[in-house]
């Protein structure tokens, strides 16, 4: 795929706190590049620098081969940005919001009308176009928030956690919309700490933690190292008698994490050892409440790389 944007050696500190540390990556034309990481990983700071709203302390960003600060106006024209917080005028209608925000990108007259209609259809809000935003549900506002960013048909859409705090139906609608944008050839940069979303929409993933990129690749390549693993999550009634080391006596167990009454065990896929784990717990007098088994996921990748869960 053609290279659209290059970010090299980006650094940023807020006073003494270093929030980005030598971040470098590339964005390819037509891909959905997902930034995955827990809160405080540096995703939003990276996004803010990419939008040119925040300056960096060091590093360079080039868009189509030219530094963005030498083509700021045309660079901003090519961007569509969905901020984390809802950026809508509540007292105005959906149509008025779209009209204003699209006009900032130079649209007017019939082109503006066409863009508004398409954006409203995209957001599934065509029938509510004249209603004030303050009467919308959280999910509808989120959809309009995205529509306002894509009305002017940008080349690159940057979305910063656009599904925070919404119902599953609206989330699915948004994820389907992003796939639609990708199919139409738009390039999307998407940040989230929901690995389920990344699994659904990403073509490439960058995992961040503590202001640095830990790893990057496709879903397939990231899971390669752990595709022979599966994860058991066991809820027990009261934990007091069993320790992590006990589980390593069972063949195939790779890692163990005990948190309160929940035990997470990563085990090799080919070895059927669940009955032995259950027997071990029974021997120790633990009462099992629930057991789930799942194959390796991006969550597992993150856990393996950082030693903690995405939402820790």
């Amino acid at each position: 795929m053609e290279n659209l944007m290059s970010v090299s050696h980006l650094t940023k500190s807020f006073k003494e706190n270093k929030v980005l540390n030598d971040v470098s990556f590339e964005v390819h034309q037509g891909e959905v590049l997902c930034f995955l990481g827990p809160n405080g990983a540096g995703k939003t700071t990276t996004i803010n620098i990419l939008t040119a709203a925040l300056g960096s302390d060091g590093g360079e960003i080039t868009y189509k081969g030219r530094p963005i600060n030498r083509q700021l106006r045309s660079y901003k024209q090519a961007l569509g940005i969905v901020p984390q917080d809802l950026a809508l005028y509540e007292e105005l209608s959906a149509e008025q919001n779209l009209s204003f925000f699209a006009s900032l990108y130079g649209l007017h007259g019939p082109a503006l009308k066409k863009a508004i209609n398409e954006a409203l259809v995209f957001a599934g809000l065509d029938d509510r176009r004249r209603d004030k935003v303050k009467t919308f549900s959280g999910g509808m506002k989120r959809r309009l928030n995205i529509a306002c960013a894509i009305a002017h048909r940008p080349e690159l859409v940057i979305m910063d956690e656009p599904t925070v705090g919404i119902d599953p139906q609206s989330r699915n609608y948004i994820l389907d919309s992003i796939k639609k944008l990708r199919d139409e050839g738009m390039t999307v940069i998407y940040t989230t700490h929901y690995m389920e979303e990344v699994e659904v929409i990403s073509t490439r993933i960058i995992i961040m933690d503590h202001g640095s990129i830990i790893t990057e690749g496709t879903k397939k390549s990231l899971k390669e190292g752990i595709e022979n693993e599966k994860k058991y999550t066991i809820d027990i009634e009261e934990n007091g008698k069993i320790s992590r080391d006990d589980f390593f006596t069972v063949e195939g167990v790779q890692s163990v994490k005990i948190e309160g009454n929940t035990i997470e065990i990563t085990s090799l896929k080919g070895i059927e050892n669940l009955d032995r784990i259950i027997a071990l717990l029974s021997d120790r007098g633990e009462k099992i409440k629930n057991i789930t088994s799942e194959n390796a996921s991006l969550e597992t990748v993150f856990l393996k790389l950082t030693g903690r869960k995405l939402r820790d």
Partner: protein
């Protein structure tokens, strides 16, 4: 230019849709003129003089409080978030704060002129033989006040801090300037302190135009306010940083 006009129109719409700001610049201003005029009417030989005094001084007070209109237009929480999209757009930095200044100016100026249009005939208040001078003198002072509000926002990056500081400053200067009651009769020391307040000069300039048909203070105040406005806009240019909006 089209982008700037879009932003300006949106800022103006948001101001006129804000019932608190509309009420503050009309109903509150009217009530304070009526109450202060009524309470002090006994101190004047002709009760109309009390209303004349407070229409002018409260108008000056209202004009200076226009600084808070600008801070609200610029960084009020519900407005600030959608304004973020303007930052992201190719509009550039200057139209963002200058449109707030211009919209706040038009909003305050229009409402204050409407207030005068109602109160002058109702309370027999005079604006001088040619009211256009009075109206014209209001313009640069209104502009300087809203530019001050925007400048404070650029410096302090926060509407609450800006409004608190402006409210304190304006109230203090207005008290010293004799807006609520004249300090001239309270001894030479207070009269001297009063003269230090720029609000006193403003009041004197407006009274000179309205009551004495004198333009002696018109041009100094007009040009002084215009110069201050220009300096404050320059200050906004120096202090405005898009990241303060994030």
């Amino acid at each position: 230019m089209r982008r700037f006009f879009s932003i300006f129109k949106m800022d103006l719409t948001n101001l006129f849709k804000n019932p608190v700001l509309v009420g503050y610049n009309t109903v509150f201003a009217a009530l304070i003129i009526l109450i202060m005029g009524f309470l002090t009417s006994g101190n004047y030989a002709d009760s109309r003089n009390a209303y004349q005094y407070y229409t002018v001084t409260m108008l000056v007070y209202g004009i200076l409080n226009g600084a808070m209109t600008a801070s609200n237009c610029f960084m009020e929480r519900d407005i600030k978030r959608p304004n973020l999209r303007i930052i992201y757009s190719p509009a550039g930095g200057f139209p963002i704060y200058f449109s707030k200044i211009l919209a706040s100016f038009v909003f305050d100026y229009v409402l204050h002129i409407l207030l005068l249009a109602v109160f002058c005939p109702l309370l027999h208040v005079t604006l001088g033989s040619n009211p256009l001078y009075f109206i014209a003198l209001m313009a640069p002072v209104e502009f300087a006040a809203v530019a001050l509000g925007t400048f404070f926002c650029c410096v302090f990056h926060c509407e609450e801090t800006t409004s608190m500081l402006l409210s304190l400053t304006v109230s203090l200067l207005c008290i010293l300037g004799g807006t609520f009651f004249s300090l001239d009769g309270l001894g030479p020391a207070l009269a001297f302190i009063s003269k230090l307040s720029p609000v006193k000069w403003l009041n004197d300039a407006f009274f000179a135009v309205a009551c004495d048909n004198s333009l002696a203070l018109f041009w100094p105040v007009f040009l002084g306010a215009a110069l201050i406005s220009a300096l404050l806009i320059l200050g906004c240019r120096l202090f405005f940083r898009t990241e303060d909006y994030l």
